[in-house]
Amino acid sequence: MKMQVKAVISRPADGVMGKTGAWRDFRPELDSSKCIKCLLCWIFCPDGCIKRADDDSVSIDYVYCKGCGICANECPKQAITMKREGMGE
């Protein structure tokens, strides 16, 4: 339907509420070699930013991750470390 006036509405899609990853000061980085697939990070992430694959390996969705660091705190193998955004290595 053609909208006659402007109102702020959206249909469900990636990023329609804004790319909130831009708020991040610290970036979680995953060392897959240390990961034991316990999925604690996947359970604890408050924003659903840990992606779980069929084989239970995990990855991080940086479009939405705000860098709270809970995943790094919960990881029993220190496989996730928090790095300052924009500071390089």
Partner: protein, 383 residues
Amino acid sequence: MIMIDTGDRIAAKAAQMARPEFIAAYPITPQTVIVEKTADYVESGELDAEYIRVESEHSAMTAVIGAAVTGVRTFTATSSHGLALMHEMLHWAAYSRLPIVMVNVNRALGPGWNIWADQSDSLAQRDTGWVQFYCASCQEIFDTIIQAYRLAEMEDVQVPVMVNFDAFVLSHTSMPVEVPDQSDIDAFLPPYRALWKIDPDDPITCFNMLPQSEFGALRKDLHDAHGRVKELIPGIASEWKERFGSYHGGLVEEYLCEDAEYIIVAMGALGAEARVAVEELRREGMKAGLARVRLFRPFPNEVFRRLARNRTFIVVDRNVSIGSGGGVYSELKSGLYGFANAPVHGFIAGLGGKDLTFGEMCEMVRKVADGRAADVEWWGLEE
């Protein structure tokens, strides 16, 4: 059918006949009767609507917004401190472009605690994006509420509308009102068809975040819609007159303005009183007229620019913007600046419901005509 009843009960009758599907309201003197009477209509089955009794006016407006985004026609009513408590959510209603219709009974804000007529409550909501009507009779209250829905729901408007009338002077004063048949009202105001709505089967999100790059355009779109409102109201009022007979003016009720040298400008019930003053001054041989402001937002600048040629305006404001002056006075001067050199005199009068008679208005005009009036005067204060 002729109904003889108070402004509040006439407002409730108009709301019932507009067939809102949702009402949330919180009682406050002198609007309480509207809450009671609309609840009666729902209870008796004369109105098929959901009615939520909320715990505050902030919640009332929030509930109405929540209902409106599901695509239904809504109604609420408040006054004074209640309107002030809604302030935050008034912006949400307007900038979400929800065609909510609300009655506000104009009452003073305390302190000093005061339940009587004063327009400072709604003028404090001037910048919230709502269209604001001001009524001068119970018939106008009825007609304006139905017309407000028609206007608010137009596809290229989609703006909430506030219908204001004076505490007690109208809210609790009985007058005869011509009430059309429901079928005729239905023909004038067809069922509401929302342009969008939240729906579990077709999910959308509303009230989203909006980046800096797009924010200004959203504000301008509402501003432009207010411009269209000024173009649409005269047509709606004329169509109503054709169908039902009653007419109260378009954006402004002009009375004996054609040859007038002095034009009284007032809003609400004071506009009805000013009409009597104009007739009295005419009997004395003074060329007086009345321009009663029916619409304060958007403000009818174009009408006043047309009226301004060789005229002196006497603005009677039952409201005050502290540190600036009377609300209508300021709007009028601002609207005329650069377009007309008509002198504008302001009288701040009748605050807190203090009686203001046509005789006093005549004296204001004589004072201006005799060159005895300051630019702005506070009228009738106890010495």
